[in-house]
């Protein structure tokens, strides 16, 4: 029953997508019964949302009820898995995650149509048709290579349960949905760009204004997803790191870079009527890079810890990427006259220049990471050798660009549009420069001899000061003009120009994360020892004492843990319990480190090995200063993005 309901819903969705995504735009283009077909295109979006919702709920219901007659449930379900992890295994493997993707896309499409339902013109009808075309691709996957609804016969009594890595931590409920929301959200700007080109409205600023807000939303969600992914890796994989330039990490980072570039260059287009063609390319590029990322991670083409799934789906993605690229090229070529810049760069020292440099650096960064990620594929195809690109490549290539971006983040807000004045800039830079020198000396005094660590701290300090200074200068000016208290002036300042100050808040979030990353990389210390109960291991200022090794049975797994006390002056101030979780589906245990966080940093402890009789255990202790600030910075970034994009009436 459940299966048939979901199957029918998905077939209906496919038909609706054909009607709304192919027939409707063709009829609109021919101009026959225009109003009627516009209504049909809109209705198709709502209908698609309704049926995909039904199919998704049916799948969740089947998972919860352990309906093993459905192939996807038989693949990821298990009676022993707790209900919560059973339901979120909707996105735990390929087929379910494609269904979830289709649902997120349907949700975005319905939201786009609903928020613009009274908008005249053909931009939104064409954009919704483009969204339905993308939906059509996912519907084809869902009835084809990624069909989650095959009938299983005979019906198994139980299943293997989700991938152990995916049911070991609560962040698995957070990171994938955020990533889908961010990734799929990039379809919306693409649909607006394509819609504007199809409707011939690309010269108007309308679509750019609409797009900016949706991009900001998707960008905030993608940012949160990347940082939640780092956190998950840190909490689950047991190596005490959060970023390894793994292909899957890169796949989420690459479109983030182009989206970030767009959010900046779009301001230049709005203010100066420049970079129109470039912006369309960034929007198309970001969308294609999300598809490429999905292709890389979901096709199993790159072996990686994250490549859980394999199948023929890769070819479909490649074909779709080709369709999108060719279609976009044709649309851009057909509108080339309309992309002319009306404005021009007036002076080398201006905010425009910093935006251009920012875009250049972000593009270079995107290209570097992309090449580094794809290089093993190229090498294997061309030279027949199996290689991987080591972390040193990524670090050496990206660190100079990243510290330069930190520096620009400080300069940009301080410069005016059109013509900057060197003396004004110098004056504004004094506090930032003092902070930079101070931080650099502190870092050197603490013993770091890495150039990039010193530069990262200096430029992060500089940029933080410069961005905070913008708030202070603005509030002071209001204070004297309107006779307000500093607090009131600050609130009204931000309310009066949320876009701008939201952007500065996001900058501060990035800088806070940068501090966390720089400190935890430059000042990380670790130690490992095999301890008998009562013995201690000292790393830096932390002394850990093994209390006991224990084990327990849980319905879906066996757990072996070590109780380790952190002692100072003979008293225990914290107890950590790093564990190993043994799942029946995995030949190796899943490390489950335990972390003690303080604002100053983390004490990270992992159980590496133990004697079967519990007579000793090998534990690793890693001290990482300021790590929690990476996650906090992520929160601040999202806050800034929401402040900037939240649709509210402006308060003067």
């Amino acid at each position: 029953m459940t299966r048939l309901l979901a199957v029918d819903a998905l077939w209906f969705g496919l038909i609706v997508s054909v009607v709304g995504g192919i027939v409707a735009p063709v009829m609109i283009a021919r101009g026959k019964r225009l109003g009627q077909w516009v209504t049909i295109a809109q209705a198709a979006v709502y209908a698609n949302f309704a049926v995909v919702t039904v199919a998704t709920l049916a799948m969740m219901w089947a998972l919860a009820r352990h309906d093993f007659s459905i192939s996807y449930v038989a693949q990821v379900g298990s009676r022993a898995t707790p209900l919560f992890y059973t339901i979120i295994s909707l996105w735990g493997a390929l087929e379910g995650s494609i269904l979830f993707w289709a649902w997120v896309l349907a949700l975005y499409s319905a939201a786009v149509v609903y928020t613009n339902r009274n908008r005249p013109g053909l931009l939104v009808p064409y954009a919704s048709a483009v969204l339905l075309l993308i939906a059509l691709f996912f519907h084809i996957l869902l009835v084809g290579p990624a069909n989650p609804l095959h009938l299983v016969s005979p019906i198994p009594l139980d299943g293997p349960g989700p991938n152990p890595l995916l049911q070991n931590h609560i962040l698995m409920a957070v990171h994938p949905p955020l990533l889908y929301l961010g990734y799929v959200g990039m379809s919306v700007p693409f649909a607006f760009a394509a819609g504007a080109m199809l409707a011939g409205e690309v010269a108007s600023d309308d679509w750019i204004r609409l797009t900016r807000r949706w991009t900001m939303l998707a960008w905030a969600l993608l940012t949160a997803a990347v940082i939640a992914g780092m956190w998950w890796s840190y909490e689950v994989l047991g190596w005490g790191g959060y970023w390894a330039w793994d292909p899957v990490e890169n796949a989420s980072f690459i479109p983030w870079l182009t989206a970030t570039a767009f959010l900046h260059s779009v301001i230049v287009q709005e203010r100066r009527q420049m970079l129109k063609l470039w912006n369309v390319n960034l929007v198309v590029g970001t969308f294609v890079l999300t598809l490429l990322g999905t292709f890389l991670t979901r096709s199993g083409i790159i072996s990686s810890v994250h490549a859980f799934t394999q199948g023929t789906i890769g070819f479909y993605f490649l074909a779709f990427i080709a369709v999108v690229l060719i279609g976009s090229l044709v649309m851009v070529a057909g509108n080339s006259e309309k992309f002319r810049s009306q404005g021009q760069l007036d002076a080398a020292l201006s905010r425009e220049t910093v935006f251009l440099l920012n875009n250049l650096l972000l593009t270079v960064l995107c290209f570097t990471v992309l090449i580094g990620t794809l290089f093993p594929l190229i090498a294997e195809a061309v030279r027949g050798v199996k290689v991987s690109v080591g972390e040193p490549f990524f670090n050496r290539m990206t660190l100079p660009v990243m510290v330069s971006l930190l520096f620009l983040m400080g300069i940009g807000p301080a410069l005016p549009w059109k013509h900057g004045n060197m003396n004004d800039l110098k004056k504004k830079m004094i506090p930032g420069a003092i902070v930079a020198v101070l931080l650099a000396s502190i870092v050197i005094a603490f013993g770091s001899r890495s150039l990039y660590a010193v530069l990262a701290f200096a430029f992060a300090g500089f940029a933080a000061t410069m961005n905070v200074q913008e708030f202070v200068i603005g509030a002071r000016a209001r204070q004297s003009a309107h006779r307000e208290s500093f607090g009131t002036a600050l609130v009204r300042l931000v309310k009066g120009n949320r876009r701008r100050y939201g952007g500065y808040v996001a900058h501060i979030g990035i800088i806070v994360s940068a501090f966390g990353i720089a400190a935890s990389s430059a000042f990380r210390s670790e130690g490992e020892a095999t301890l008998k109960p009562g013995e201690t291991l000292t790393v830096g200022t932390v002394t850990a004492r093994l209390k006991e090794v224990w084990g327990r049975e849980e319905p879906q797994r066996s757990v072996i843990g070590a109780t380790v006390e952190l002692v100072r002056d003979g008293t225990v101030y914290a107890t950590l319990s790093p564990r190993m979780n043994f799942y029946p589906t995995s030949q190796t245990p899943i490390p489950t480190p335990d972390v003690r966080s303080t604002p100053f940093g983390d004490t990270y402890m992992n159980l590496m090995a133990f004697q079967p009789d519990g007579s000793n255990a090998t534990v690793k202790v890693i001290l990482e200063p300021l790590v929690p600030w990476i996650w906090i910075g992520g929160g601040i970034i999202c806050l800034g993005a929401l402040l900037s994009a939240w649709p509210m009436k402006r308060v003067a």
């Binding site: 293997p160 250049l360 490992e528 084990g551 030949q587």
Partner: protein, 163 residues
């Protein structure tokens, strides 16, 4: 890029800054491409089996390598105090023995015949210094054999705990 006279007049600077910026972009992109190719060349890590590594001879000494093979039965020694792990890795055909030394505890399920990937460098002393040890296991589900289940292997621990 910091010429103060540009900011002082109203004169619309015509093509000059634009051309300058394009030239700058071209130079930067070229430099970056050159840097990137050079860095890729230096930082590519080859994935080799023991036979392939030995076939490379001196060329393979002291360059980063990912060595993939099987743990040769009966060669594993583990000094838990010094955290010193030594074992031999062989190809699937049982040939091409390479001695591996690794710092740190072996993975919990580490045992003879298991597929491993060691990241590290092959030294001139013919010992492969591994900095990272990964167990290679198939994604396919395989029911544990008798005695392989953790609740059987660690029975005494399971009993010893009330929590």
């Amino acid at each position: 890029m910091t010429s103060p006279e540009l900011g002082s007049t109203l004169a619309p600077a015509k093509k000059r800054p634009k051309a300058g910026i394009i030239a700058m972009v071209v130079v930067l992109v070229a430099a970056f491409g050159w840097l990137m190719m050079g860095n890729l060349d230096k930082n590519v890590v080859f994935f080799l089996t023991p036979n392939e590594l030995l076939a490379k001879g001196t060329e393979a000494i002291d360059v980063p390598v990912r060595l993939g093979g099987q743990v040769k039965a009966g060669t594993v020694t583990w000094d838990e105090k010094a955290l010193d792990l030594r074992f031999d890795v062989v190809d699937t055909d049982g040939k091409g023995t390479i001695h591996v030394q690794s710092k740190g505890a072996p993975p919990q399920m580490f045992r003879d015949g298991m597929g491993v990937v060691c990241e590290g460098r092959f030294g001139a002393d013919s010992v492969f210094q591994s900095t990272m040890l990964i167990i290679k296991h198939s994604n396919e589900y395989r029911a544990p054999k008798a005695g392989e289940k953790p609740q059987e292997m660690y029975k005494s621990l399971m009993k010893g705990s009330g929590s």
